[in-house]
Symmetry: C2
């Protein structure tokens, strides 16, 4: 059987240096911005003409950091990590074709030198290969009454408290991003050790935190060399 070969149209720059800590759906972290620079020959202003009339776009991307093998079932974090459901009933990266879909808000189009698009609500790791951009069509794609199975409502959010030391070193935008990310509780579902210190890397910062299951405490912030 013959396959289909696709080339990236660009790579997305995001705050998420590692997979750990990334929100599990788009739009959960409104302060997470990403920039997509289109590659030649796609980086022509005409290719995005009219895109400014759409507030949201679909990014079709490749889960390039995930292992290439798939299994028929996966264990979604939303189900506590110990219930198996079919891979096609999930948005897991470990799928037969590791293609992802992310619905993001388009906030800037820059065509001064090539094409750079800025999005917010990003849930993708830095350097993700993008295969396509499509406008979101609300009359066809907004179905508020759809049944959403185990993902029928947004995940609960935790309170996030910053240590005075961390607080003092934070610019407001970075503080908001850290809050967005940590209130989603990125800990593995099976972990519940209130003393354990986790680290998540955002831009060039290592953020250290612990969580008692209701509240997340940001302990320290370290700049990576």
């Amino acid at each position: 059987m013959s396959g289909f070969n696709f080339q990236p149209i660009g790579y997305l720059a995001t705050p998420f240096a590692d997979k750990f800590g990334i929100p599990r759906q788009p739009n959960l972290a409104p302060h997470a911005q990403g920039v997509l620079k289109l590659l030649s020959p796609y980086n022509r202003a005409e290719a995005v003409r009219g895109l400014e009339a759409f507030s949201h776009v679909w990014l079709t991307f490749v889960f390039h950091q995930s292992a290439s093998d798939w299994k028929p079932t996966v264990r979604p974090p939303r189900l506590g990590g110990n219930t198996r459901i079919g891979v096609f009933a999930s948005r897991s990266p470990f799928r037969p074709n590791p293609i992802g879909l992310s619905l993001v808000e388009l906030i800037k189009i820059d065509t001064d030198s090539g094409v750079a698009l800025t999005f917010k609500g990003i849930d993708l790791v830095d350097g993700t290969p993008i295969l396509d951009i499509k406008p979101y069509i609300p009359y066809a794609e907004s179905i508020p009454t759809a049944r959403g199975g185990f993902a029928g409502s947004p995940p609960p959010e935790l309170a996030v408290i910053f240590s005075p030391e961390a607080e003092s070193r934070l610019k407001p935008e970075l503080r908001a991003l850290i809050e967005d990310v940590l209130k989603q509780d990125p800990r593995p579902a099976y972990a519940n050790d209130a003393e354990r210190i986790y680290g998540v890397r955002l831009y060039q910062y290592d953020v250290k935190w612990r969580c008692d299951g209701q509240t997340t405490y940001v302990i320290a912030l370290e700049k990576v060399a």
Copy 2:
């Protein structure tokens, strides 16, 4: 630059033998049903376990009948066929990576022998290669307030009138499908000849019709040998 190679997980059987006449977005033709049989090794019941909890799914597919060359701009039928917009501001099949997205309603899961999924609201040509199935997540993907550019509202619908002869030969389901398809006015945007007779093939029927721009008249129905 290295690319990414993907294999079909199955091919979608649909009423649309040809591209001409296919609704230009999913869910415009609720009577258009499609059946996806998963190929080995994906055709195991576990792979779709839990999918029944979702009412809608995304199909990621390949525009396999479209020419492989792309252009930076396209002329969407919705804009009358003579306004050029960027390919990334459109859902045109003629894109750098000919990947399509279709949001369809899941109405049946059959795992008695392999896996067969039945959808309605299909807008894909018979035999379309499917790369992925993902559940629709309404809390993240239903954004009714999104700005939808030139596709901000559903296209207007025409009245459809059947000739007595055509009417007499139609089962109700096929009649409803023909009405779904023709009320979308599938004529090329630049055509406006009320006398011209068009044909669209649905299942094994050639449907003959003409349109004066407000009303479509179904003239005849011919079974293809």
